[in-house]
Symmetry: C2
Subunit: 209 residues, 2 copies
DNA sequence: TCCTTACGCTACGACCCGTAGCGTAACTGC
DNA sequence: GCAGTTACGCTACGGGTCGTAGCGTAAGGA
């Protein structure tokens, strides 16, 4: 359900082909795998999708927007299983996120579109709406469960709670991305365990774990 | 000191102009500010630097390598002031790092070259050597000071200590980058304080701080 | 059936890429 | 000084992508 939401879907005339939409996005992912971000071209995607190049430009302004939509759907796979403890839940979601970042299409696309978004306000909100904000639900869900289990205190101040959730989200997502893409080292079960200990109990305790 | 280190600097012939080197890197940074990563071209950099395009290609294989070198030097500014406590030291380095990421040239370049590096092994090691690994010194330095103050235990196992340092580095750098570039929200003193509390004492304590 | 919109195709100017060729400049060893 | 070697600036080039315009055709709605 990509809410690309044309504000005025006209009721007359030939409707846009939904099949072409899906074929284009699929072709974009395939092209990302084969060529990577920088060598991906609109012409190549059009050819792979069996579609005219002009059809791409009728729907997407350019490469940036196209790739965001093509990759966004992959992030909806993430789920937070209830494993009985906050620690187990965090480790599970970290490993899920890491598996997503191991896929070549997300690996090459994610950082690239973020880089582009630093100079494109519209693109930034597009990424925020279709990728980033959707994952915050995992943090909120995990916190609620932990509070129900008594593992975390219930915060009274609504604003402070929201700020804390944002902080935790940046820490988890940032650490996994940095480990996987910048340090380029594996996010395996052992790393996830160590990271979770650090997140839950802090630095002093983590050093001796 | 960019160790681009031509293995064989020939002793004969006309030497390469060091002034041109610096002019090119400076022009690259200026072009990053004005145009951003995607619209930066080799021709534009050459023109700004007052240099022929062929001269660029004699020294750098392409846009990726050039930008890495142009931006790398900026990261050497980071220092870890001794403020008397681990908490204060962490907050200070976080704010320094954030200030660096607010500069448009680093903002647009950093994520872009990392994205490219996912499909280019040589570029990845170049980034690692000239940018990433240099910052780990801050973590090692901070830990040593904290241990001398008695704020952190001295780890016996050498490998485990190294692994922990890598983990902490990914957490700090990742969180700041994610906050600044992906969430696109300010890394101010308050955020740095909250983050530091989380890092040092863990999630349960951070929620009630 | 008429109207409206989407589609495929072709062609186009503009731009950037990366390299080759050439004459000139700068520095070294004899 | 002179010859040898390398760097530099300049021009030119084939190859590729971009994004758009124009046209005839296809697919729905009133």
């Amino acid at each position: 359900m990509l809410s690309r939401s044309h504000p005025k879907p006209p009721r007359t005339g030939r409707p846009r082909s939904a099949a072409a939409d899906e074929a284009i996005l699929e072709a974009t992912r395939a092209s990302l795998v084969d060529l990577g971000w920088s060598k991906l071209t609109m012409s190549d995607v059009a050819t792979r999708a069996g579609v005219a190049k002009t059809t791409l430009y009728r729907r997407w302004a350019g490469k940036n927007e196209l790739v965001v939509d093509a990759v966004a759907v992959l992030f909806d796979e993430l789920e937070l299983p209830d494993l009985g403890s906050l620690s187990a839940d965090v480790q599970a979601v970290v490993l899920q996120f890491a598996a997503l970042l191991e896929r070549p299409e997300t690996q090459t696309a994610l950082m690239a579109v973020v880089a582009e978004s630093t100079r494109d306000e519209a693109l930034r909100t597009r990424i925020r709406d279709s990728i980033v904000d959707r994952q915050k639900r995992l943090v909120l869900q995990g916190r609620q469960r932990a509070q129900e289990r008594g593992e975390l205190p219930v915060e009274q101040d609504e604003d402070a709670a929201s700020t804390t959730a944002d902080l935790i989200f940046d820490v988890i997502a940032g650490a996994v991305v940095h480990r996987a893409l910048v340090s380029a080292e594996p996010v395996d079960a052992d790393w996830a365990r160590r990271f979770t200990v650090l997140l839950l109990t802090g630095l002093g305790a983590a050093a001796s774990a």
